[in-house]
């Protein structure tokens, strides 16, 4: 059989999500109708970064009319086991977290008690009345001070505050350095940030038959959450249903499993009433997982042509006070160590990668994970090589890149780049950015009209669609890798596609429908996508790390193929033909060469559902409902080049982004409009990370950035217009040829902007090796350099 329907994959189909969202009819977790007897939670957060809890007096709170209960860590410990990430790396210090702190708090904002009340207002009233006495203890927040022998111990099972130290070296890395004509060494510092989705976290637990509990959560990982709830609450997984409503942005921080979710579910089961918790922004900033508190020391050995012969990286990442569930505090550590070589032919490589514990919020995934920092490092090194050798930075990159003709290429840590366009993306981006003209204009001097102008490049590989082997290589053996799809042709011939993902703005209802429509050969409008519900469709690994197009797309293609084959078998039987001779086109199935011998999907479906006078062919089962799974390879590697052009105000150090070019290659594009949206949104977050966002603890572990007036987000006047182009190098290793795109915008933006600022200030010979590049820092650098 064959399909000759005109494809909708590759078209900028407008989103079907938009209509209800634009009308204000989105159903985010706080919008869900709640039963009248719903209880509300408010958590009592520690004001100290490290302290002993000497007493908790809830009597005043309990006396308040409408407060149902106040529970402490000891109370919750009878209902919820300590939660823990399962990391299987040699030397990893296993550690657990009580869902409410018992005896000791380890970061400012850690919850010590929960108030249960008849309304949200009453819960917060009760929270104010809980009297907690603390005995403050010594604090360490800094990643370098954490391993000082005199530093206070953060976690009893993490000796010396080292969660993990990973080492790797190729055989001849030392020889590579000895033989090199040049060596450059640089330190790169990265600011702690967090994702700040505009919808804070929240959940609603409703005791309901036939499951014992329906749990709605603003999460990216419903299946993993359900398994974890079962495990840590010690209830049968089959009695739990997790539903993901509309999610107002996730960006990775909602791909963590948080104490509040376990507390909410446990209390609903215990109290036999619906329990709801909606986070406020203060709580979000303090308790959402953070990211990027990293330090990289990089040594590069290179020859007179700028070819890097050997690379050493000493990476240190702050894991926070607990190893966050499920991916653990080693996520950034192993990520940066494995990804830093990027698109370059670096064959001798050594790393030491350390995750340390401090009295700060736990670290986990934020869009890009380690990549904005490791590429800030390697791309910063490429620029430094260029400055040392007086070569153009683009030329240095081109000389070091793996050319397309040499793909597939296995990089030095064993990651396969199956297809890609490293050289082509850089060349096209340079053309779009008028790179050569810009360089020529710089020859007249970088300072024009009071502004230093510079241009910065980031050429990078982008890890996406990770399979089980990829997670195992990073110690995450309990993280599956696969996702699932079920394609169901209803009796009326319409199609429902279930997929084990959960959207948070990516447009899955549209893009997955495009994939299924093409694979089945039906009009797009005939396909409805259902996701984010553990009761609908089989298990999967869910939605993070740029997975959904690769794993969900692959699973749906496979399931569609099975459904199409079954339709063809039944149609062939009805038309007295053979399945091989059945052609699918525009929602019809006909015998090849005889378009008049045709059946609609509905007519074939009626036979499958025994709703007409046909019998099923011998051996065929009823219905058309086909499921398949797809586990991608180790990782699916996308790539891109970003070029940022900036102006740094000589007087006040402010940075304007005057031009921004992205050439992105995510393989086969499902919906260019949506891909562009992902790229632009990511770049905006990267602008924030490079220029303004920073979560700050003082040396006592006190939070200096607990509101959005202190933690600055980019607005419409900070983000420029974009020039975006796509190169499509379909993956030859994945079903469907898709590669992920969710994170690339952010990954490329941070290094390209940092490099552009460094380039703008190159004549001043200041060292730009840190971020965020706020006006205060840049004006100080300019002032100092200008004497």
């Amino acid at each position: 059989m064959s399909s000759d329907t005109h494809g909708v994959v590759g078209q900028s189909v407008l989103r079907r999500e938009d209509d209800y969202l634009l009308r204000g009819q989105g159903r985010f977790v706080d919008d869900l109708p709640t039963p009248l007897n719903t209880l509300h939670l408010a958590f009592v957060l520690s004001p100290f970064a490290h302290a002993r809890i000497t007493s908790i007096d809830a009597s005043e709170a309990l006396a308040l009319d409408g407060v149902v209960d106040v529970l402490t860590g000891a109370d919750l410990a009878t209902m919820v086991k300590p939660i823990a990430a399962q990391i299987e790396l040699p030397g990893y210090s296993f550690n657990t977290r009580d869902v409410l702190a018992i005896d000791e708090v380890r970061f400012a904002g850690e919850a010590v008690a929960v108030v249960v009340a008849e309304s949200q207002y009453l819960a917060e009233d009760g929270m104010e009345l809980v009297d907690v006495d603390y005995e403050p203890l010594p604090v360490v927040t800094d990643i370098h001070q954490a391993t000082d022998p005199a530093a206070p111990q953060v976690n009893p099972t993490v000796p010396g505050n080292v969660y993990f130290e990973g080492r790797f070296a190729t055989e001849n890395v030392d020889a590579g350095f000895e033989a090199a004509a040049h060596v450059i060494s640089e330190d790169f510092h990265s600011n702690r940030v967090t994702a700040v989705p505009i919808e804070p976290r929240g959940c609603l637990a409703v005791p309901e038959q036939p499951a014992n509990l329906v749990f709605y959560s603003s999460t990216q990982i419903h299946h993993l959450l359900r398994t974890a709830l079962a495990e840590f609450l010690d209830v049968a997984e089959s009695t739990l249903r997790v539903v993901v409503p509309d999610v107002g942005g996730g960006f990775g921080i909602k791909a963590a499993l948080y104490p509040e979710e376990f507390v909410c579910a446990a209390l609903a089961l215990r109290l036999r009433r619906p329990v709801k918790w909606i986070q406020d922004r203060y709580g979000a900033l303090l308790t959402d997982v953070h990211a990027r508190d990293n330090h990289y020391r990089v040594d590069a050995a290179f020859d007179d042509d700028g070819i890097v012969g050997a690379l050493r990286a000493e990476i240190r990442t702050n894991g926070g006070a607990y190893s966050a569930v499920p991916f653990g505090c080693t996520l950034e550590t192993t990520g940066g160590a494995r990804m830093i070589v990027g698109p370059y032919r670096i064959t001798e490589y050594e790393y030491t990668a350390t995750a340390v514990a401090t009295h700060t919020a736990p670290i986990l995934a934020y869009r890009g994970v380690a990549q904005p920092v490791c590429f800030m490092a390697i791309e910063g090194i490429m620029d430094r090589i260029a400055r040392r050798l007086e070569l153009d930075p683009a030329e240095v990159r081109l000389r070091n890149m793996v050319p397309t003709a040499e793909l597939p290429w296995n990089n030095v840590v064993g990651v396969r780049y199956d297809t890609g366009s490293f050289v082509e993306s850089l060349e096209l981006a340079m053309e779009m950015a008028n790179y050569d003209e810009f360089r020529a204009s710089q020859a007249q001097g970088r300072l024009v009209d009071g502004k230093y102008r510079g241009i910065g490049i980031c050429s990078f590989t982008e890890v996406s669609g990770t399979g089980a082997p990829g997670w195992r290589a990073r110690g995450l053996s309990r993280l599956p890798g696969f996702d699932s799809g079920t394609v169901k042709v209803e009796p009326t011939g319409k199609v429902t596609a279930f997929v084990s993902h959960a959207h948070s703005g990516q447009g899955h209802f549209t893009t997955f429908a495009q994939v299924v429509a093409d694979e089945l050969g039906v009009p797009l409008s005939d396909v409805t996508v259902v996701e984010g519900d553990t009761a609908a469709g089989p298990y999967g690994t869910n939605t993070f790390a740029s997975r959904s197009a690769v794993t969900g797309g692959g699973a749906l293609i496979r399931a569609s193929e099975k459904a199409r084959l079954k339709l063809a078998r039944i149609a062939a039987f009805m038309l007295e033909s053979t399945p091989e001779d059945i052609v699918v086109a525009d929602g019809q199935m006909h015998v090849a060469g005889v378009p008049s011998r045709a059946l609609s999907f509905a007519e074939v479906a009626e036979t499958a559902y025994a709703m007409n006078t046909f019998d099923l062919p011998e051996g065929e089962s009823f219905g058309i409902e086909e499921t398949d799974f797809y586990d991608p390879p180790l990782v699916t590697m996308a790539n891109a080049t970003h070029i940022a052009q900036v102006a740094v105000d000589a007087a006040d150090g402010t940075v304007d982004i005057e031009g921004y070019v992205v050439v992105h290659d995510c393989g086969r594009v499902i919906n260019p409009m949506i891909v562009d949206g992902q790229v632009m949104g990511g770049v905006a977050q990267g602008i924030g990370e490079a220029l303004m966002e920073e979560f700050v603890y003082d040396s006592d572990g006190q939070v200096r950035t607990a509101t959005l007036m202190d933690y600055l987000l980019p607005s419409s006047v900070d983000v420029p217009n974009f020039q975006i182009a796509h190169i499509e190098s379909p993956s030859i290793d994945t079903v469907g040829g898709f590669k992920g795109v969710g994170e690339g915008g952010l990954i490329g933006a941070v290094p390209s902007i940092v490099n552009a600022v460094a380039d703008a200030l190159a004549d001043l010979e200041v060292n730009v090796n840190t971020k965020p590049l706020r006006p205060a820092l840049l004006s100080r650098l300019i002032r100092e350099a200008s004497g």
Binding site: D18, L22, Q25, I198, D246, G507, G677, N721
Partner: protein, 162 residues
Amino acid sequence: MTDECEVTITVNGRNRRSRVEPRRLLVDYLRHDLGLTGTHIGCEQGVCGACTVLLDGRTARSCLHFAVAVDGSDIRTVEDLASLDDLHPIQEMFHQKHALQCGFCTPGFLLTTVELLESTPDPDEAAIREALMNNVCRCTGYANIVDAVTEAAVELRRGRQP
């Protein structure tokens, strides 16, 4: 709790008489008392703009007002923009230009745009970016929102009725 006050607020053209606690935020009143959940809460700090409504025709942060304080006022929320059959031209252009992703901040942007285009029917890009700078979107990177507002202005000037 006790000491509830009676308020009369015109919401989306309809007079609503309610009893509310003096401390009840306008946004909670809209969302949880009237069921108008299209107005969202992003920060309760007056920064993000997700809770933006029109208060007597001007944009206001509904997380920073008490319901009792707007007694007698006229409130317009996102639910009032579209008809059953048609989106408002601003909404339609947000759809056409892919100016929303998760959609959580979108109602605030729509109402800010309504205010802008009522006062400035033909804004240039700088004016649009200036007007939108107090609404935070974490998904789109703003460029498509700016495009959508530009195109919506064209549509509205052409006389397409909201």
